[in-house]
Amino acid sequence: MSTVVAEERIHSLEIPLAGASLLVPSAAVAEVTNPVKLFPVPGAPAWVLGVMGWRSQAVSVVSFEALLGRPVPPLSEDAKLVVFYPVAGPRASDFYAVLSIAEPRPQPVTSSSIETEDPSRLPDTPFVAAGVLIKGRALLIPDFEALRRVFYP
């Protein structure tokens, strides 16, 4: 008797950044919205682009490029704001958003569809946990624990 094991599929989202793309579980994302006016936060680090109103909450918008030490891309017509469920911050309601330069794309991931990226080719940053190759394209997996630490030091 043979046993057929179904390959596990993880529903993921590819978030285009300037010069890179993130790969995150779809379950981590609450919503993808069009850009709205961002209100700057005096004294905030450069990677905080501002705060937007979303579902009656103040949601901080982050540039992942700036976290990587790269220039913040200009806000184009194609840009999107990807609202993430809270990392384990001070309150369960602390949603945050990441600026994407284009519409995020669904990216179903199975063990056979990805390869591990050579770690030496990854950005030297604590905010990237790993890299994967999908059809030869490199995608960065963010380190949510590192994000939590920099968000709420």
């Binding site: 709205v36 006016k37 209100f39 700057p40 936060v41 005096p42 004294g43 905030a44 680090p45 990677w47 905080v48 705060v51 937007m52 109103g53 979303w54 009656s56 909450q57 103040a58 901080s60 982050v62 911050g89 001070p90 309150r91 309601s93 602390d94 945050y96 920099v150 968000f151 709420y152 030091p153």
Partner: protein, 148 residues
């Protein structure tokens, strides 16, 4: 009795901020204050009292020290018995009305050793108005010096 649900709207260099009305110990018009003699220092004006004088500082919209030209009033906060103020283009008392003030913590390390400058935000659709944490602002102003 002061209503803890009310807020003062402060316009700093064209940007709106809110301050819990209970945090203010005095609001003075510009012409009731004494201009600071040292034009280069962070203190713009003083409120003269029987027991001493209270400094009022100028900040821009980014909370950097500045010397705004068109300020109209100064709002003074209690700071361990030593009131300290900030000048504003406008100061209005807002009724609670439909205000939806939500807790908010800015991301990243606090910009001052007194903590984050804001601890809540009024969310009106997409529009955000930050609520100033009075204790942090008072500590921040005190750290600017010039009040000796």
């Amino acid at each position: 009795m002061a209503d803890v649900g009310q807020y003062l709207r402060l316009v700093l260099d064209g940007a709106d901020y809110l301050l819990p009305s209970t945090a203010s110990v005095a609001i003075e018009q510009r012409d009731a204050l004494v201009p600071a003699e040292n034009g280069a220092g962070p203190v713009l004006a003083w409120r003269q009292t029987r027991s001493g004088r209270w400094p009022a500082y100028g900040l821009n919209a980014s909370f950097a020290v500045s010397r705004p030209a068109h300020w109209q009033r100064a709002v003074f906060l209690d700071a361990a018995g030593q009131p300290i103020g900030v000048v504003a283009d406008e100061v209005n008392l807002l009724g609670r009305g439909d205000m939806h003030v939500a807790p908010f913590r800015p991301l990243g390390a606090p910009p001052t050793r007194f903590g984050h400058l804001f601890n809540a935000a009024w969310v009106d659709g997409y529009r955000i108005t930050f609520v100033i944490d009075p204790r942090s602002l008072a500590g921040f102003l005190r750290s600017l010096g010039g009040a000796a």
